[in-house]
């Protein structure tokens, strides 16, 4: 967790950072913020401060009554529970390019995920975070490849894990946290030098502007639906 990528340009705003520090952000969006924090020392510092603010508010709570029996119950439990030993000699941490959470979701091997192809340049693997209202996935865009033109029905957060892409507004690179709101249309293109890997979470499914793709996706979903129900 020591990789400092100097060029992080797009950061989560105060709303995302405070909701993250407070713990009220839905897991899928929190994963996006955590991923950004992995790459951004500046936001890690802000997160520390916002967590302190939470602790301060926490300590100012009206104290609730605690019965003495509750401590006794706890003492009975700690007598039998193993205590974590201090990690004094921390093993030389494998400096991972990807955040821990992503590595775990992929079981340490991205290729093991169930990737599906959309068009020639885009592969998508869904991640299950148990969030019924959002779809979270990893996107892999071929170097130089276009993502099909699409319009957002809900808000979308994208965090770049590897490589870079650009759209009509700017060029985005590793660690950037990009928010697209409902109704915005864009057409990202991965840069030529390498494939671009992103994490993305959507409030509602996107609409492909291209009708052929739309039909393709519809058929795909139709075919995939029974399997998914079984899983």
């Amino acid at each position: 967790m020591k990789n400092i990528i100097p060029m992080v340009k797009y950061h989560p705003d105060a709303r995302f950072l405070t909701d993250y520090a407070a713990g009220s952000l839905p897991a899928s969006q929190a994963l996006c913020v955590a991923t950004h924090l992995h790459y951004c020392a500046l936001c890690r510092q802000k997160n520390r401060e916002l967590t302190e603010l939470g602790a301060e508010l926490f300590m100012q709570l009206q104290p609730a009554e605690v019965d003495h029996s509750e401590f006794e119950r706890l003492v009975a439990r700690i007598a039998v529970v193993p205590v974590n030993q201090p990690a004094k000699t921390r093993q030389a941490q494998v400096v991972s390019i990807l955040p821990t959470a992503i590595n775990k979701l992929a079981n340490g091997n991205l290729e093991q995920l169930e990737w599906r192809r959309i068009g020639n340049n885009l592969r998508v693997a869904n991640l299950n975070l148990g969030d019924q209202q959002r779809e979270t996935s990893l996107l892999s865009i071929k170097a130089g490849g276009h993502v099909p033109h699409h319009r957002h029905k809900g808000d979308e957060i994208t965090v770049i894990l590897k490589g870079s892409f650009s759209d009509h507004e700017d060029k985005y690179s590793t660690g950037d946290f990009i928010v697209r709101t409902r109704g915005e249309t864009h057409r990202p293109v991965a840069s030529q030098d390498q494939d671009c890997l992103c994490l993305s979470t959507l409030d509602a499914p996107i609409v492909m502007s291209n009708w052929l793709l739309r039909i393709g996706l519809y058929l795909y979903n139709l075919a995939a639906a029974p399997q998914r129900r079984q899983a």
């Binding site: 967790m1 950061h11 705003d13 105060a14 709303r15 950072l17 405070t18 909701d19 993250y20 407070a22 713990g23 009220s24 839905p26 897991a27 929190a30 955590a34 020392a41 890690r44 997160n47 520390r48 401060e49 916002l50 967590t51 302190e52 603010l53 939470g54 602790a55 301060e56 508010l57 926490f58 300590m59 709570l61 009206q62 104290p63 609730a64 009554e65 605690v66 401590f71 119950r73 706890l74 439990r77 700690i78 529970v81 193993p82 205590v83 974590n84 030993q85 201090p86 990690a87 955040p99 821990t100 959470a101 775990k104 979701l105 079981n107 299950n128 975070l129 148990g130 019924q132 899983a231």
Partner: protein
Amino acid sequence: MRTGSIKTMDYESDEQHLATPTDEKVQQWITCLEQVAARQDIKAFAALFEHFSPMIKSFAYKVPALEQADSFADELLQETMLKVWTKAASFDPKLASPSTWIFTIARNMRIDLLRKQARHVVNNVPLYKDGDDDEIDLEDIWFEDENSDLFNHLAQQRSRKQIHDSLLTLPAEQTEVLAKVYLEDKSHAEVAAELKLPLGTVKSRVRLALNKLKLVVDR
């Protein structure tokens, strides 16, 4: 010589500025945690329990519309303090103050318990990946900060004091929104819905508060 003494004076006034009664308390809780870690000291643990458990319970009761709030509060208290006991060795006063560390544990535990509750409601739909092996830990998403590389301890202490003092001077409407966001498990969007305010108003109240607290988050 003279420059030397001026420097000393500056240093002293700086120390004075930081030395508040709260700091002595902070040191006390640091010592307790270290004693729990080093020799599983029950007495030190009892002191921590006495000080922090009323807040942990209160933090549990802040969740709105809870069914069986009492047992939820009991569980949160038990599980949080159990973690404090088992994880005391990983507490590092250079990274967080005791109250920040314990708040973080209580916050993560509350998220975890709320999800477990929700899981029962939604017919055992798995919340993470299917199968236990793939399940990711909440603590991988809300991870503990292990980056001491860019960490400035003194700046941290200053900001803590800054936050502490200026919280009292915030207008009520800003404190209200902050408290809802931090304590009642509500996102900005949910606070907006509850107070019947536009999301933008909630956002700007939080932003004003953060500005006052000198936690300017947006560039």
